[in-house]
Symmetry: C2
Subunit: 210 residues, 2 copies
């Protein structure tokens, strides 16, 4: 029997470097990234089933109705959501599935998948968030300030996550996440089958004596 994979939910402050961390985790090949479904048009380089599943409005609304999405939201007149089937079939195959998602979505998912592992990524210092956002050079200082204020609101609920990982050195941060997933794999709650197997072996070995 294949041991089920772990659903890993990753969130983090804007500027904490989630994207890079996730990319690095995926490059090691031990993880699969959950692919979202969207009704927005694909960009030139985007492929159905790689960046997104590009679905029609009708199809998306049918998925909502039939409870086929783990979570969904509407943004700028388009739907975005996480198809249950992709996530669950990968978990069943023993693959660890990463879902990069914002905090409210993450907490909602934990109520549906209580064995999901919620990881929150932060920089060591808040001033580092600001520096990284400025360094990107893609956002005005107004937008950067808005993002920092949003992070300030979010900080109050970071203890709803299972783990808080500091992204100071990228390699170390990725190693920490590997450690967490390795440890979670040893959690007694995920090893009921092992217990059953050992009981069976004791009974076989001590046959007639117990």
């Amino acid at each position: 029997m294949i041991k089920k994979g772990i659903l890993i939910i990753i969130s983090g402050f804007s500027g904490a470097g989630k994207g890079t961390v996730v990319k690095e985790l995926l490059s090691k090949g031990d993880y699969v990234l959950s692919i979202s479904s969207t009704t927005r048009k694909p960009r030139e380089y985007e492929q159905h089933g790689r960046e997104y599943f590009f679905d029609s409005r009708d199809e998306f609304e049918r998925m909502i109705k039939d409870n086929e999405l783990i979570e969904w939201a509407s943004y700028c007149d388009n739907y975005y959501g996480t198809p249950k089937k992709f996530v669950e079939s990968n978990l069943e195959q023993g693959k660890n599935v990463i879902l990069e998602i914002e905090m409210q979505g993450a907490i909602d998912i934990k109520s549906q998948y209580e064995d999901a592992v919620l990881i929150f990524i932060t920089t060591p210092k808040v001033t580092d968030l600001k520096k990284r956002l400025e360094k990107r050079g893609t956002e005005s200082s107004d937008i950067i300030n808005k993002r920092l204020k949003r992070s300030y609101e979010e900080v109050n609920i970071i203890d709803k996550y299972d783990y808080i990982v500091i992204n100071d050195d990228l390699e170390e941060c990725v190693e920490d996440i590997h450690s967490i997933i390795n440890a979670e794999n040893k959690a007694a709650a995920r090893n009921i089958t092992l217990k059953q197997k050992l009981i069976g072996e004791f009974e076989e070995l001590l046959k007639g004596e117990i």
Copy 2:
């Protein structure tokens, strides 16, 4: 402020190789072994404060009365126990303290120290336990059978532990325990101070704006 260390409780089936695993963990220098107190006489090579704290009966009974022991038991007319002070002062200094102890003691300790990490060590197969006990050559087959029967009774409660680690390859088993402790260090519940620190930094950075 120093971050508190983690109290690590290690148990395992007789023959699972706990002793070797603990020795290997200690050799890496990241852990301190809890030293027990006993009223039995020291053997020639034993030193007070290294193998055991060798205490008088009066002193031991005073410690029981004054609630200075995490757990204690009487065995062959001698007392054995775990002094609270040694464990707690090391934890306060940020050191991870290992306590190798049998299952009932381990579960009792979890009720006193709910943030203790309980790790159970097993071989991959039950027949490996038997092989290892036979290979030691120190116990009669009668004693080996008694130990296996005791392990069979214990297997029913291994899911009271937080983690179950398989000792097949020693290095891998030790690495798994390192992973667990590293992961536990990132647990949100152990990082309340980090959250407070981040809140303070956001308030400093966004002064006048929030």
